[in-house]
């Protein structure tokens, strides 16, 4: 698949989605504050579960999962949410309960995962080099788009892309051994983190569970190869980028099945001469229709991925 720099409007419109539904992280009614509900999923591994939805004012943009790993030097925080205010709430929890913040990692460059970085600019904020570059290139447009969707929730939010590029490999922070895993497929650079002590895999958006995957920057073939390698890790537990904690391998199986289902659906559509609108009207693959953020994620994905499928199916028959 060829990749090119997205234009401003594609960033604005392709990188984020609009939808409405109920939420898991309940935004308090009166003021725009986040009621975080961190829970320990393994020894010293805390998870804050995002709403299994698209970005929307009703969920305050709190749609992705956040992980905090306790160390002797404070918490290692994986992803920081969509807004400065969410980042501040996260920081407050880490400061009060986990002895401060040792470091922050951003799993990839999509804005729901790192626009909360603002609360951590006095700490090292790390990501894979390509994620860092993509966040730098798109940050301003992402912020504009999220202001349009989230309104008040975004007040005071400015993009602070990760400042340090990290390489995959083992790393010890505050006595805690982590393995940084560099993959691609959901985006051009996807970081997953394995906590060696508990065998917990913090997967970022390489894995989704019960929430339709978003594919604005997807390379499905690469993504499926990444899933093979994640499966080989045999993690004791998995925190997907979106969706509940998984101890059964369901997130891997479901993400793979969704990608295969979508790929198959698109290939059939273009080889039968359908138009993207017809593929949209067909609706999501039935077995995935009830997932969070569907059908809107399916609709978005058809628009985002259509041309690359169709140009494979239509031979060149002429020109200038």
């Amino acid at each position: 698949m060829t990749r090119r720099a997205p234009s401003r409007r594609q960033v604005l419109l392709g990188g984020v989605a609009i939808a409405a539904a109920s939420s898991l992280v309940r935004p308090a009614r009166a003021a725009s504050t986040y009621a975080l509900n961190p829970f320990e999923v393994a020894g010293g591994v805390w998870m804050i579960e995002g709403a299994q939805e698209s970005l929307d004012a009703a969920n305050g943009g709190a749609i992705c999962n956040i992980v905090l790993l306790e160390t002797d030097a404070g918490a290692v925080i994986v992803d920081t949410g969509s807004t400065a205010r969410f980042g501040a709430a996260l920081r407050a929890f880490a400061d009060q309960r986990l002895g401060g913040v040792a470091a922050v990692f951003n799993t990839h460059h999509h804005p729901d995962h790192w626009l909360g970085n603002q609360a951590f600019t006095d700490r090292p904020i790390k990501a894979l080099a390509d994620s860092k570059a993509a966040a730098e290139a798109n940050g301003a447009d992402y912020a504009t788009a999220l202001y349009a969707i989230l309104g008040n929730w975004m007040t005071g939010t400015a993009p602070h892309p990760p400042a340090q590029a990290v390489a995959p490999g083992p790393v010890v922070i505050g006595g805690r051994a982590l393995r940084l895993i560099g993959e691609a497929g959901h985006t051009g650079a996807d970081l997953a983190i394995l906590d060696e002590e508990t065998g917990t895999l913090v997967a970022g958006d390489l894995l989704f569970l019960d929430r339709a995957p978003s594919l604005p920057d997807a390379d499905i073939a690469a993504w499926k190869r990444a899933l093979e390698r994640l499966a080989d890790l045999n993690p004791a537990g998995v925190v997907p980028g979106h969706g509940p904690l998984d101890r059964t391998g369901a997130a891997l199986a479901q993400t793979r099945a969704y990608l295969e289902g979508f790929d198959d659906r698109m290939k059939r559509a273009v080889t039968r001469g359908l138009s993207p609108m017809e593929a949209i009207l067909a609706g999501p693959m039935p077995e995935f229709a009830a997932m969070g953020a569907n059908p809107e994620e399916y609709h978005r994905s058809v628009v985002q991925r259509w041309t690359e499928y169709e140009s494979e199916a239509l031979p060149v028959v002429g020109g200038a």
Binding site: R4, A5, P6, S7, R8, R9, Q10, L12, L13, G14, A17, I18, A145, A148, R272, G273, L274, S275, P276, M277, E278, I280, L281, H299, R300, V303, Q304, W306, T307, E310, S311, A313, L314, P315, V316, V317, G318, G319, A320
Partner: protein, 225 residues
């Protein structure tokens, strides 16, 4: 807007009405304002269709295209650029001069018409300008055609208007099947769906197109199951 557009683009016909038989299928919200996929289907209309005029109420350039289906069925799949949330209308003129109109509303966050074409971000876009991809399905009569073209509206700062103006389908003997007049709001690298009757779908079809700078593009597609 609609009364004005009726006057300007349809010539102010007296005999017109909204008609549910003119299907205008579009997503309720634009995922990408530069590529809003649509289908206009007037196959349910009684009487021969002379032309279909597609307009967008609130667009800096309201006229999208005029489709003369000729010997093809009055159905067209295509994509448009949207600058703001607005109704899109398909006005169908029958042979007797009466009009039937179908409409749909698309919510959009904007930037579809005033943003530069994505092509300008690629170094090779001029080389492949006008490249035509197409496939014809004899059993279903479907013809899908895509053309590489920036479809610049002239509204993006510093980029002159450069867009397709005409596209014609002809049978092997050179006889016109269908004709399209294209305007600025048609999407970049437009991809079009036509429906041909079986007799035409089993034989080669030539595709010719022109743009406002005088470039001419041509291709030929043969039925392929």
């Amino acid at each position: 807007m609609w009364p004005l557009h009726r006057e300007e683009y349809l010539g102010g016909p007296r005999d017109w009405q909204q008609d549910a038989a003119v299907l205008t299928l579009a997503p309720s919200a634009a995922e990408d304002a530069a590529h809003v996929p649509l289908i206009v289907d007037a196959t349910g209309i009684e009487g021969q269709v002379r032309r279909i005029v597609v307009t967008i109420d609130y667009s800096p350039i309201p006229l999208v295209l005029t489709f003369h289906p000729g010997r093809a069925l009055p159905l067209l799949g295509f994509g448009v650029k949207y600058e703001t949330g607005s109704a899109l209308r398909a006005s169908v003129e029958r042979e007797d001069g009466s009009w039937a109109m179908g409409a749909t509303y698309v919510a959009a966050m904007g930037g579809g018409c005033t943003a530069p074409a994505a092509a300008h971000a690629r170094p090779d876009w001029q080389e492949r300008l006008g490249e035509i991809r197409a496939r014809l399905w004899p059993d279903t009569g479907r013809l899908r055609v895509s053309l590489r073209h920036p479809m610049d509206t002239g509204l993006a700062p510093g980029i002159a208007a450069h867009h397709l103006t005409e596209l014609e389908l002809a049978s092997g003997d050179g006889e016109t099947i269908a004709r399209l007049e294209l305007h600025e709001p048609v999407e970049e690298n437009p991809a079009l769906t036509f429906l041909l009757p079986a007799a035409l779908a089993r034989r080669p079809v030539t595709i010719t197109a022109r743009d406002n700078l005088g470039y001419r593009f041509e291709g030929r597609v043969e039925a392929q199951s």
